[in-house]
């Protein structure tokens, strides 16, 4: 159960409330707000335990190392990874996906090899592959999306051949809220001898995730989209694959021995940990996971889905609205357009009412083209939102419609 007073865990709401401008935050797919717990963990770390990790020969550094490594174990446990060593800390999901593309793709793909993505990918699971395809001569193929905004697995089956080396798919779409059947997709990929990569940026915060159940070889996520600080993300990688991969970045921390012209590397995950890591970020991520786990991911999922369904029904009453959301599954993400009111104008009108939504292409330009729109407005709900936010949104949208209602012609000479 989501507590009624959960908003009070997040100081940003009382801050704006006290300034007479209550915040209705509906942009959690971009980044979530932070509970006090996470904020104070950062302060505590810096005021009590700050030291560099893995290299100090004194107690404080050992404490910092221990709590940093506890964060890794926590992240592993959170997605049910088989061992902490299969978790690499990164800056965000984007860096995690780039790490796979470069450290795995650049060295494993040859000319004519194929990588299958989907028509609903975020740019962070497209552009790295564009770069790697250009370097290696690999070819990109796409799983099609059907009219109900679901991936068409038949088109995956058709595309899978002996040339397919990887299938990389978004778990939950940041535009449509679609939850993709990544377990089935992984099984199909494996059957064809390809690895399976899952972009979990929008699933880790919202639904329970078990990478061993999914069976995927890589899973990427971002801390800031799940109540954690910015600048920390993670990549789960199957350990035997990580062991065969080349490093992504070189430098301190990731080496074993260094000579003037050569070096050999530390074992994973440290192979992929060049330089001083984001220690406070990792510790903040652990605090965020603790927070979410106490509430329970299953409860968060149910709460969000029912709020999402409620919002979709309520918003459907707005004149001229088009909602891009599947009928069957969907998280708390609702993208829409309204006839005669541009998404950017909607966003400005909502902003004047203290409602924060996103307008634009949501880093998914190919999907926008597929939907035949230039941009959409997007409201995304999280555990601190409730029905009153939906109501505020709906009435502000009605106001937008009336501001842009068709006028008499020729007001202007």
């Amino acid at each position: 159960m989501i507590r009624n007073n959960i908003k009070s865990d997040f100081p940003i709401f009382s801050y704006w409330e006290s300034r007479g401008k209550p915040l209705i935050y509906l942009d959690s797919a971009a980044t979530t707000q932070k509970p006090l717990r996470v904020i104070s963990t950062l302060e505590e770390y810096y005021s009590q335990f700050n030291a560099n990790v893995h290299r100090g020969t004194y107690e404080l550094s050992q404490i910092a190392t221990d709590i940093y490594e506890e964060a890794r174990s926590k992240a592993a446990h959170f997605i049910n990874a088989p061992q902490p060593e299969s978790i690499i800390f990164t800056r965000n999901a984007t860096e995690s996906l780039n790490l796979i593309a470069y450290a795995w793709g650049l060295n494993s793909l040859k000319e004519g090899d194929e990588v299958i993505l989907s028509e609903m990918e975020h740019h962070s699971n497209l552009v790295p592959w564009h770069i790697i395809a250009r370097h290696t001569g690999a070819v990109l193929k796409f799983i099609r999306m059907n009219g109900d905004y679901l991936l068409d697995l038949e088109s995956l089956k058709k595309n899978l051949t002996r040339k397919t080396k990887a299938v990389s798919v978004v778990h939950v779409s940041n535009v449509l809220g679609t939850i993709n059947p990544v377990k089935e997709i992984t099984a199909l990929a494996h059957e064809a001898g390809a690895i399976s990569i899952v972009d979990g940026a929008q699933s880790a915060p919202h639904i329970p995730v078990d990478v061993q159940d999914i069976g995927c070889d890589f899973y990427a996520f971002s801390g800031h989209k799940m109540c954690g600080p910015t600048g920390i993300g993670a990549l789960y990688g199957r350990y035997d694959i990580l062991e065969k991969m080349e490093p992504f970045l070189g430098g301190g921390e990731m080496i074993n021995e260094v000579f003037p012209t050569t070096s050999n590397y530390a074992k994973p995950p440290y192979t992929f940990a060049a330089g001083t890591p984001n220690i406070s970020g990792a510790i903040g991520l652990k605090a965020a996971i603790d927070y979410l786990e106490e509430i329970g991911l299953k409860d968060i999922e149910e709460y969000e889905m029912s709020l999402g369904d409620y919002a979709a029904h309520r918003l459907a009453e707005v004149e001229g609205i088009h909602i891009f959301r599947p009928h069957t599954t969907g998280t708390g993400v609702i993208s829409f357009t309204i006839d005669n009111v541009h998404p950017h104008d909607i966003s400005t009108i909502l902003d004047s009412e203290g409602i924060a939504i996103r307008a634009g292409h949501h880093c998914a330009q190919p999907l926008m083209r597929k939907l035949q729109v230039q941009s959409t407005a997007r409201a995304s709900f999280y555990l601190y939102n409730d029905k009153s936010d939906v109501e505020a949104l709906a009435s502000a949208l009605e106001k937008s419609v009336s501001i842009f209602s068709p006028r008499r012609i020729n007001v202007v000479k």
């Binding site: 541009h342 950017h344 004047s352 634009g360 941009s375 501001i403 020729n410």
Partner: protein
Amino acid sequence: MSLSDLFTEIIIDHYQHPHNHGLIPSPTHSSRGYNESCGDDIQVSLIVEDNVVKDAKFSGAGCSISQASASIMTDLVKGKSLDEIKELSQKFYEMVKGENGEPGEEMGDAVVLQGVAKFPVRVKCATLAWHTLEEAIKK
């Protein structure tokens, strides 16, 4: 910040019934401008003779501010010399950023976009057409 400063009747009217909308078949100058953050996309085409704009049109799609700005701009620049236009565009940028006080008479109908200054996130929308025009006449 009041919405009625931004979405004035005149702006909404230009948005719903844009002037000079379309493409000039064989323009002497043209350019395309794209606003990555919101997807506004504008094509400006011109007929320039003896350094003076004889005709101006725009096409594309975008928000009310970007479209109204393009509609008003294409009205305003017809009959003006390229040097006048360069000066005008600088004054327009200053106006929508709220710099340099009250706009002068030469801004014409574009003064209705003055309210954009109170909405910093919308400045880019208002300036897209003008930047695209500047690109076009640079060529």
